[in-house]
Symmetry: C2
Subunit: 267 residues, 2 copies
């Protein structure tokens, strides 16, 4: 951990199935949370199709722009799994077959009474030169790290295993902490004091998320920042000014509010 | 509808709450499906933070690259709602206050016994010059269209209403149709015939999505294309070759398989 430095990441989700609406992505919110725990802040995510030039260009643009890049999807055995060729092209390196991984896949299949090794399966043992492998126990086929790019599977259970391995190579900076308040006031009423508070605490990121519930409108205000003392100060000032406006603010349990769907809104 | 032309779109999801993992996005899959119905294909999606330069640059890059751009998020009354200023900056235009929308918001609030109009709420009646408004009955505050960019709310129920309005301005091209097959074979076994089929039908997009279920491994193969006759040909050849491999293929009901989570995978 290198303390106060802001360490950034970009996630590239590769796959036509997300862009066609067939598959609902779950990887973004998982990685956003997992990265923050080790002091890395996800600053952008892109969903791109299985098109070679798009993948190569996006990887090259993002690896120059962010400290770390994570990709998910496109590392299986079929013709639409083209991520590894694209990563090799992006880095201008060749590809090699890893005999240890060939053996691993072979014994994984043997344990499951599967058919023989073939060219398609060998693709999962073929990596860009210089790749540092990220083993996973779930499917035996590894992801890998090349430079600051981490290449992982799209299937969540397999991606999670690869991400655990990836963490060993991450040099995190400051960890962002969050605190939240819910209040029974409409967003338009609290906007002005909220804006004033944001102006006075520029290093704290204050977000306002309106909801409409059975029992009436309410707003969830989330403050995020790396300095716990400043964060606490924002929260206590906020509690006071929301009460002054006639609201009944209470602290929100953010751990349980994680990854909720977008609630309904009131102006 | 202009027939065979491929019409493309990019979705820009604006909001720190998605990148922090707090909110699980649902808008991407909804818009992907809704756009395809009117002959527009979503080719990329980007999730970006509430940072002015990032929003301006991303909007300008994407509106030059795609036929249509849709943004969600950042058009409410609070300090973190900066999308409209950024759209105006991206297009190099000023902003104006729309008195009709001021009146609309006023009567919307009056009906709900809300407090007075204020500067924060007036922000929701302030638009880039040249904006064509997209009314919505849910929250009264409209989205808008400027050039080929459609600016919508992040809250799904409000976004859906704005998208219905947006459809009036879309000139779609060919509609992509999907057919799917599930088969009880591992992905590595079907990869070769699948790749051959893809090579022979380059205009059909064939995707392979492996799953692990209680009852064993299986693969879902989805073929997508604009020519129904060619699509049917791919499906019937696929049924035959999967049966030749010893599998038991059956057609998948894609309507009910929509927006499922990523299933588990086998190599």
């Amino acid at each position: 951990m290198s303390g106060d430095r802001t360490v950034t990441a970009c996630l590239i989700l590769i796959g036509n199935e997300i862009l066609s609406g067939r598959t609902q992505d779950k990887n973004l919110s998982y990685l956003a949370g997992g990265l923050n725990e080790v002091g890395v802040q996800m600053r952008e995510a892109r969903v791109i199709p299985d098109i070679r030039k798009t993948i190569v260009d996006t990887v090259n643009e993002c690896r120059a722009k962010f400290d770390y890049v994570f990709t998910t999807g496109g590392i299986g055995p079929t013709h639409d799994d083209i991520t590894s060729e694209c990563i090799a092209e992006a880095f201008g390196v060749g590809m090699y077959r890893d005999q240890e991984i060939v053996d691993l896949l072979q014994s994984y299949m043997a344990r499951r009474g599967r058919s023989e090794m073939n060219e398609a399966r060998l693709r999962m043992a073929t990596f860009p030169e210089g790749a540092v492998l990220l083993r996973n126990e779930v499917s035996a086929a590894p992801g890998y790290k090349l430079g600051n790019v981490f290449v992982m599977a799209g299937v969540p259970r397999i991606m999670h295993a690869m991400f655990e391995e990836a963490k060993r190579y991450l040099q995190g900076g400051a960890v962002v902490r969050s605190r939240g308040i819910v209040v029974d006031l409409p967003e338009g009423t609290i906007a002005e004091p909220l804006g004033d508070l944001q102006a006075r605490f520029p290093e704290i990121d204050i977000g306002s998320y309106p909801q409409m519930r059975e029992e009436g409108f309410r707003v969830s205000v989330v403050a995020r920042g790396t300095d716990p003392a400043r964060l606490n100060q924002v929260i206590s000032e906020l509690m006071q000014s929301l009460a002054d406006l006639g609201g009944h603010p209470s602290e929100e349990d953010l751990a349980n509010a994680q990854s909720q769907s977008h609630p309904d809104e009131q102006p």
